[in-house]
């Protein structure tokens, strides 16, 4: 049996809003093995983002344990967490979160600037390579304003990839995109999962997106409702090809 890349045990997260306690996660346990492509599904407000933020070490659970690569995150300092986010995790946001007025290449280089082991030449090479993986190498000098939504998300994915993280976390990464562009992104994500062997945890509320993953965790009201393996994973590339041509941009 393979070692778990991430494991959560009885995870709880409560928010204090005024005098009211909002319980976003009410005890969630699951583990993910290297190379898995997991989607976290659930209706709005079910706790998906809260879950993913904890997995990305952006937020801390109120109770419960989270083991990333065998390390209990609870015991890490702020700086160690920063290092973890830098080296092991690539985060993709729904709103892309690219720096404005900054070229695609420079946006992709950003995580490497916080990595002291990478020099200027390597940084450029790695960023260029990441842009090639998302098929945007020819747009390296474009700023976000000069790119479409799908292209911006691809830059964001390149940024998540550039430090060669062990896993990629995406929060509704296709939420702002039309079907065709969503499928393009999913095809890219599938490729990263299959060719680059990246572990992927992908939050979405769209069932057709979840069909591209190998496992779906269904959240409801802060609890796991279902955790199912997907027997016949749909190929995003094929799905893309089967879309009507009139949909082309």
């Amino acid at each position: 049996m393979k070692k778990n890349i991430l494991e959560v045990r009885e995870l709880k997260r409560e928010f204090l809003v005024g005098s009211q306690v909002v319980r976003a996660l009410k005890g969630v346990s699951f583990s993910v093995q290297p190379g898995e492509f997991v989607t976290i599904m659930g209706s709005s407000g079910s706790g998906k983002s809260t879950m993913l933020n904890i997995l990305g070490c952006l937020d801390k659970p109120t109770e419960g344990d989270y083991l990333l690569d065998g390390v209990n995150v609870k015991e890490l300092s702020r700086n160690e967490l920063a290092q973890l986010r830098n080296r092991k995790i690539g985060f993709v946001f729904q709103a892309y979160n690219l720096l404005p007025r900054t070229s695609a290449l420079e946006n992709v280089e950003l995580p490497l600037l916080y990595n002291a082991d990478v020099n200027t030449r390597e940084r450029r090479e790695k960023a260029m390579h990441a842009l090639e993986l998302v098929k945007l190498a020819d747009r390296f000098d474009h700023t976000p304003a000069q790119l479409s939504g799908g292209q911006q998300q691809r830059v964001a994915i390149a940024r998540a990839l550039v430090n060669e993280p062990v896993m990629i976390l995406a929060d509704e990464a296709t939420g702002n995109l039309d079907t065709r562009t969503s499928y393009e992104i999913m095809s890219l994500v599938q490729e990263l999962n299959q060719k680059e062997k990246k572990t992927i945890v992908f939050v979405t509320h769209e069932p057709d997106i979840a069909a591209f993953s190998s496992r779906t965790i269904m959240l409801r009201d802060g609890k796991i409702q279902k955790d199912t393996a997907n027997e016949n994973v749909r190929s995003a590339k094929e799905a893309l090809e089967s879309l009507p041509v009139s949909d082309d941009y």
Binding site: N53, G56, L58, D59, R78, N79, A82, Q83, R85, N86, R87, F91, F93, N97, L99, P100, R101, T102, E106, L110, P111, L113, Y114, N115, A116, N119, R159, N163
Partner: protein
């Protein structure tokens, strides 16, 4: 390496907001520019006072009658109305004070100089021939008067360039010509080399020099002196000479030990230091005012950095989510603040230097750009950046990544 990256990050962040960075800099630019301009004007006027005073003869000692008794109502008598200095004092100083190399009596009178149809209000100095040496004056043309002419109260004079220009507008040679000062005709026997204005704006060439005996007898009808000019053997001996002169004059004036001096002895060196300390004070004052604008510039930086931290909260969250530590964020914002202040400082230095050059060429004010002024304002600038940039930067560094990302 890491720091180098942070500098790169800060630089890019500034590039994304060039206009704002420049406007923030403006306060620093003006502050530093003003400090440097003020300091160079101050330093320039100080040096010009010094050089102008020492060009009058740095060994010069001036003795003036001075009555320390307050007049009724608290006013003091003006020095020329006190009659305590005599020719006898001059002779005693000449023969007894070893540290004095030259001495001259001095009387002065203002009046109209007239040549034909040309009139010119000016000042006549009655002195001994040695006066030229004491004051470091020299003749452009003609000859000095002699001791013999002094004895005879000869009606001869030396005139300065301004007097020449006004009495001889046609450009004829003044030597040998007869001019009148008041009602008395004087023969011009020499023309002085021009000295220009002194620091106080006084025209040093607006002068007529004549034997003191002539001025005493023919113009003022007095036997007293207004001033005694002396020259110490060297600048370093001028204090000793002052001591000796004071002793001698007290004896000569038969002052009892309890009585105050009825004269004052001033050395040029003393005057230079008084004048320079006055000018130093002025410089300090002006610089302080300019310094305030620098502080205001610093507060401008702080203000903008605060706004910038708030506005870029999501950016900070993003940076943290991809691995920036609190200290990286702190340093980034600190470096941004320092870069603004240092760049502003550099531009300010350039503007300050240019302004000083413009002031000296357009207004003919003397300016001296001192390296210490540049160094000082630079250090102040960097400190301003650190000081006013620290709090906003710290605010940014303390943010939680998820709170920062969610910030609207």
């Amino acid at each position: 390496m890491q720091l180098f990256n942070l500098i790169r990050i800060a630089l890019k962040a500034l590039q994304r907001n060039k206009l704002r960075a420049f406007l923030t800099m403006l306060g620093i630019i003006i502050g530093v520019g003003a400090v440097i301009t003020m300091m160079s004007i101050g330093e320039g006027s100080k040096q010009s006072i010094q050089s102008s005073l020492s060009s009058m003869g740095s060994n010069m000692i001036t003795i003036m009658p001075y009555n320390n008794m307050p007049m009724p109502g608290g006013a003091r008598m003006s020095s020329s109305s006190v009659q305590s200095l005599t020719e006898d004092d001059v002779n005693k100083i000449r023969t007894n004070v070893a540290d004095v190399s030259a001495v001259s009596p001095g009387v002065s009178s203002s009046g109209q100089a007239i040549k034909g149809a040309n009139n010119w209000p000016t000042q006549m100095q009655g002195v001994a021939p040695s006066y030229l040496d004491i004051r470091k004056l020299s003749l452009k043309d003609g000859v000095n008067f002699t001791d013999d002419q002094v004895r005879k109260s000869a009606k001869v004079c030396l005139i300065g360039q301004t007097v020449v220009t006004n009495l001889f507008p046609g450009g004829e040679n003044p030597i040998g010509q007869v001019i009148r000062f008041g009602k008395i005709p004087f023969q011009v026997i020499g023309v002085l080399n021009p000295k220009g204005q002194n620091t106080f704006g006084q025209d040093q060439d607006d002068i007529i020099i004549a034997p003191y005996t002539t001025v005493q007898k023919r113009i003022l009808a007095t036997t007293y002196l207004h001033t005694i000019y002396a020259s110490a053997v060297s600048e370093s001996r001028s204090d000793a000479a002052t001591e000796e002169i004071t002793q001698l004059l007290r004896e000569n004036h038969r002052l009892r030990p309890t009585e105050e001096d009825d004269f004052t002895v001033r050395t040029q060196a003393e005057l230079i230091s008084t004048m320079s300390s006055t000018s130093t004070m002025m410089t300090t004052l002006l610089t302080a005012v300019a310094g305030i604008s620098l502080v205001i510039g610093g507060i401008g930086i702080m203000n903008i950095m605060y706004v910038s931290v708030t506005e870029r909260t999501r950016e900070i969250g993003l940076r943290m989510s991809i691995g920036a530590r609190g200290s990286d964020i702190l340093l980034q914002f600190l470096i941004e603040a320092i870069m603004i202040s240092i760049t502003g400082g550099i531009i300010g230095v350039i503007i300050g230097i240019s302004a000083s050059l413009i002031v000296s060429s357009a207004l003919h004010w003397p300016t001296v750009i001192s390296e210490s002024a540049i160094g000082l304002s630079f250090v102040v600038c960097a400190l301003t950046g650190v000081f006013f940039g620290y709090y906003p930067a710290q605010k940014a560094a303390r943010l939680d990544p998820i709170d920062a990302l969610r910030y609207e």
